[in-house]
């Protein structure tokens, strides 16, 4: 009797629990926010293509999005020479492309040659351009390959996270992949179907082949509201990125669906135009080139209010160029920015400005007034601009706001330099400071406050140039970190960019999806797509 009761109990528990058990198979369904421009990993230049490359491409070294550490992938080990010019890989044996073509060092050589060929104009390959001269790729054995660059490259191994190896011999060319999924079907403007790569090399701890799901259905959907409606209906299992309003609403409806990875890497900042040839009034150029003026503006902006009101609290005041989410490179010695309008006025007075009758004037009696430009169609930025306008009015500064369509704004920022101050956001996809060389080097085209300088305009820009060059060729990560910490310190002291807020990473994950754990690095919600499982109940519904 007791035995029968036990059996019945086990059967009962199993019958209740079975829908909750995750199992292999099924389809993962979510949206891309744009049409991928290419399926060729060498030419990837947009987010949709990058996400596809992540899901389909096999790389030699993978940056673990969660730990932010490098892990062996197709290369079981690698070694970098002392002069940091050569990297040698030991490749994994017995690996096949999705079409059955074997993977060898010849494929790595083929991919690298294609990537570094100047006529290819590969955005991924640009990161490897270290100096004048030719890159040599030597495939000494089927499982060994070494690449020698003309000049040292700091953080070299990290760059290989973006290099999806292509087959040199497969008739399917770039459609033969080494990643967890391959492209099975593509309906332009509508959807992409990815299927499980039967030859994927990776297994879980129990020896089960990965990925767990059989396929991924990617719908191309630009409208975020429609995406959210479909997620609510249960048609989608995740949303990779939500805006704060959507996230808050979802959280109110069902807090378990709204998942945040905390502060992300993306920041919003404003800067003043310091280009000497810009068509601005001389007295305005003089203000913008004054450190005290920029620091005073920074002090007078209430970042906490920006975070609380514009981002519903899903953002935090920005310390500087690197978000705390970038665990290794963030300079934790930086002081958190504070809101201090009185301190701002004191700084301005020291710099020769005077505040009288609720108006700030400079030494020569010009009223301090400038135009803040931002891109149109971005409600969050427009709200931030309006709040900055009110904050600065407290210290007698009049701010006019102009919104322009993006091409017009870029034209003014990069060609005519006909603007006074600009409010925009920076999307950081690379943790390494080498990824922002063109921002910090005075000769860089993204050195927005005064780009493409022949020689550094200020001593502090010269120091940043020197530090950035030194960190790029430093022998150890510790040395690099020390140099880049100093760059962050100078940026905080000089405020060429006035960093406002670092935005949180906001995602939505269905309870039917098991194993999802959003992170700050892209792709935030499906970085571990190969180990995601669909709940058995959902699988039943799919069948």
């Amino acid at each position: 009797m007791l035995r029968a009761l036990k059996c019945f109990s086990i059967l009962f528990i199993c019958s209740i629990a079975s829908p909750l058990f995750a199992q292999s198979g099924g389809e993962l369904h979510f949206c891309l926010h744009g049409e991928p421009k290419t399926f060729n990993p060498v030419f990837v230049d947009d987010e949709a293509s990058e996400n596809l490359r992540y899901l389909t491409g096999g790389v030699l070294i993978r940056l673990n999005r969660q730990t932010q550490a490098l892990e062996p992938a197709l290369a079981t080990s690698w070694a970098i020479s002392k002069d940091r010019r050569t990297i040698a890989f030991q490749l994994r044996k017995g690996v096949y492309f999705s079409d059955g073509t074997p993977f060898t060092s010849g494929d790595v050589a083929y991919t690298m040659k294609l990537l570094l060929d100047p006529s290819t104009h590969s955005p991924t390959g640009d990161a490897f351009q270290s100096g004048e001269g030719k890159t040599e790729v030597r495939a000494a054995a089927p499982e060994a390959v070494s690449i020698t660059f003309p000049a040292p490259i700091a953080g070299l191994e990290r760059l290989f996270d973006q290099v999806a190896i292509m087959s040199a011999n497969s008739p399917k060319k770039e459609m033969a992949v080494l990643g967890p999924f391959y492209v099975s079907d593509y309906k332009a403007g509508s959807s992409i179907l990815l299927r499980k790569n039967p030859n994927y090399w990776k297994h879980d701890a129990k020896g089960t082949s990965l990925p767990y799901v059989d396929s991924i259905q990617l719908d191309i959907q630009r409208n975020r509201d429609i995406e959210l409606v479909r997620f609510r209906r249960g048609e989608l299992q995740l949303i990779n990125r939500l805006d704060p309003e959507q996230f808050e609403k979802l959280k109110q409806e069902n807090s378990s669906l709204a998942r945040t990875a905390g502060t992300g890497l993306d920041a919003e900042e404003l800067w003043f135009n310091q280009v000497p040839t810009a068509p601005l009034a001389p007295h305005k150029k003089a203000w913008f080139q004054t450190t005290e003026f920029r620091k005073a503006i920074s002090l007078a902006i209430n970042r906490s209010d920006l975070s609380r009101i514009v981002y519903k609290g899903f953002a935090r005041p920005a310390f500087g160029p690197v978000s705390p989410a970038n665990r290794f490179w963030f300079n934790s010695a930086l002081i958190e920015p504070k809101y201090d309008p009185q301190g701002a006025l004191r700084l301005l007075t020291q710099a020769g400005f005077h505040y009288d009758n609720e108006t700030l004037k400079d030494r020569t009696g010009n009223r301090v007034e400038f135009t803040l430009v931002t891109n149109s169609g971005n409600p969050a930025r427009e709200k931030m601009a309006a709040m900055i306008q009110q904050d600065l009015s407290q210290i007698g500064i009049k701010v006019n706001i102009v919104t322009l369509d993006f091409p017009s704004l870029i034209e003014r920022m990069t060609r005519t330099f006909d603007y006074e101050a600009c409010l925009l956001g920076l999307v950081n996809t690379d943790l390494d400071p080498n990824g922002v060389m063109t921002v910090w080097m005075s000769s860089g085209e993204n050195h927005q406050w005064n780009p493409n300088q022949k020689t550094p305009a200020t001593p502090w820009e010269a120091e940043i140039d020197k530090l950035m060059r030194e960190q790029a060729s430093a022998a150890t990560e510790k040395e690099r970190k020390a140099k880049f910490d100093r760059v962050q310190q100078i940026a905080a002291e000089q405020q060429p960019f006035i960093y406002l807020i670092d935005k949180d990473v906001l995602t939505a994950v269905s309870p039917a999806l098991i194993g999802a754990s959003p992170v700050v690095l892209n792709p935030q919600a499906f970085w571990n797509a190969e180990t995601l499982r669909v709940q058995a109940a959902q699988l039943g519904a799919q069948k």
């Binding site: 509201d225 309003e245 609403k249 209010d305 609380r308 009101i309 514009v310 007034e369 400038f370 135009t371 430009v373 149109s376 169609g377 971005n378 409600p379 427009e382 709200k383 601009a385 309006a386 709040m387 306008q389 009110q390 006019n400 706001i401 102009v402 919104t403 322009l404 369509d405 017009s408 003014r412 006909d418 603007y419 006074e420």
Partner: protein
């Protein structure tokens, strides 16, 4: 009194009330349209804030009446400008004919073929950056007026062309009347009903175009309110159901557009 007349009387009353509120906005509300009560974003209506507050905690009622002032005063000005251009060019083309007619009609066709929104975007982008919000508002409506004439021109041209061979113009011409004098003294007064109709039709069109531009973030600049940028608050439609008072700008816009349409026939009759 017929139903139509009652409706027209009500429309005029509503328009006068709305216009009165807009003109005396400073006396009606003691808040500034730009003041942000940051502790009260998206506040519900209360005695302190009759229509609640917007995302930045600004008083919505104050912004609505100031926005009405902007939209309701500048839209007729833009309509006047476009009707004036259409009247002058249309009557000139209709009266003179020949190459003049061809050039004017070609210009009108070209203007109509260009997507107005993109032309406005381009022109707005080349305007100087250091414009104050007031000048920016005026510039937006001047652009609307300066670009909104082609469809009215077609109507005016057709009417003036029909008038070209009329007896009274034949008589004027026989008396040695110059073309400009004929246009100003004889043609224009006879085109008055058409011009008035075009003027009244254009007002809601310009209000809606400004609203569209503001929805794209290219109309009236912050912090100045207009119906257009107030309507941007409705972008997040899912929250409107729970906060129906946020529909107030839309209600006022619809009301004013309907009122303009209802009084339009009366204007024609009067003319």
């Amino acid at each position: 009194m017929s139903t139509t007349r009652v409706l027209r009387a009500i429309s005029i009353g509503v328009l006068c009330a709305v216009l009165g509120m807009a003109l005396f906005a400073g006396e009606i509300s003691h808040y500034s349209y730009a003041t942000q009560f940051r502790e009260l974003p998206y506040a519900a209506p209360s005695s302190a804030h009759l229509l609640g507050t917007d995302a930045l905690g600004r008083d919505l009622f104050t912004r609505l009446i100031y926005g009405t002032r902007v939209s309701l005063l500048l839209a007729p000005a833009a309509a006047f400008l476009s009707t004036l251009i259409a009247g002058l060019l249309g009557s000139l083309a209709g009266m003179i004919g020949g190459w003049c007619e061809r050039v004017v009609l070609a210009a009108a066709d070209l203007s109509m073929a260009l997507p107005l929104l993109f032309v406005l975007l381009t022109l707005r982008a080349v305007l100087p950056m250091d414009l104050s919000p007031v000048i920016s508002v005026v510039a937006t409506f001047v652009l609307l007026g300066a670009l909104g004439w082609p469809s009215s021109l077609r109507v005016v041209w057709a009417a003036s062309k029909a008038m070209r061979d009329s007896d009274f113009l034949l008589l004027a011409r026989a008396n040695g009347c110059s073309p400009w004098r004929m246009i100003l003294r004889h043609v224009m007064p006879n085109l008055r009903p058409i011009l008035l109709a075009q003027f009244w039709i254009s007002i809601p069109v310009f209000v809606l175009t400004e609203a569209t531009l503001s929805m794209l973030g290219l109309g009236v600049m912050e912090p100045m309110p207009s119906w257009g940028n107030l309507l941007r608050g409705l972008e997040d439609f899912s929250t409107v159901g729970a906060n129906p008072w946020r529909l107030a700008p839309l209600v006022v816009l619809i009301l004013v557009v309907i009122c303009f349409q209802l009084i339009l026939p009366m204007r024609e009759e009067l003319a």
